[in-house]
Point group: C2
Chain length 136, copies 2
DNA sequence: CTTGACTCTGGACGTAACTCCAGGGTGTAG
DNA sequence: CTACACCCTGGAGTTACGTCCAGAGTCAAG
């Protein structure tokens, strides 16, 4: 049978994290308590893999595990509002961040240019003009 | 005289960090070793304040202190190229990140909508559809 | 000369998010 | 029955970035 129970190493490999991390997430209640075999081995449903991927995705975008927990425990109406608030907050935060990044991007790009032309013109005794005038 | 030496508490206050943090940055060589009074007190130049602000700014945008150190130690031609590479790398990273954020933003905004209409229509027994279909 | 605000050092502590380890059990193939 | 890969738990260790503390010195004002 190909229907062997989905055990932790498998889940870990498929979702790109370590088995330790899977157990860690379970402890933090980011994953539901997995059921066990008679021998005590955890048994996962394939949903767990998706869930871990979701966690990783959200994490890359700056959500903390605690916030992600908030996103995952969505049940009734009350929680729905709570999730909505969390999302709303994160959205404005992200807009803010994107704006800042664009501005800093421009600054860095400019320095990069200066760097390059400095190298082209002065070659050996070029000195980078990074940091100066970066303030506002 | 208004020309009292710029000491650590002052620098800290003006740059919005704690004195501990200033000393910490000095240890990490993110700030030059401050000179000392006869009594052993650090004496800073106003440039230090700018530098700390720069560090904080870069940090908000996801640079680690180690990377920032790379941005700050810009001297001759060799370092210039090194800085250029660092910036180049960070720029593509930022572009990547901005793209991802925009995508995730859309996903979250959609969920937010669903959340809202769910609340409007089903009121009390609304249940949030967050997490499902978020994969890719 | 005393007071009070400020500074010094070295090292311990704190948090997030893991990561590793010892000592032991499970399960299956040969 | 013996390997051998895999799993279990509890707890210690790690990295990044600070923050706090004790015990002691500095300095300007009164």
């Amino acid at each position: 049978m190909e229907n062997s129970p989905l055990q932790i190493g498998n889940v870990a490999a498929r979702s790109g994290v370590s088995v330790d991390t899977v157990r860690y997430y379970e402890r933090l209640e980011l994953l539901p308590q997995a059921s066990r075999t008679s021998g005590g081995y955890r048994v996962f449903s394939p949903k767990a893999i998706e869930q871990i991927r979701f966690i990783k995705q959200a994490q890359e975008l700056g959500f903390s595990l605690d916030e992600i927990k908030g996103l995952l425990t969505s049940g009734g109406a009350e929680e729905c509002e709570q999730v909505r608030d969390l999302l709303q907050g994160k959205l404005s935060e992200m807009d803010e961040q994107i704006k800042k990044m664009k501005a800093f991007r421009r600054i860095l790009a400019k320095h990069l240019d200066e760097c390059d032309s400095e190298l082209n013109q002065n070659g050996q005794n070029a000195h980078c003009p990074v940091l100066f005038e970066i303030e506002k």
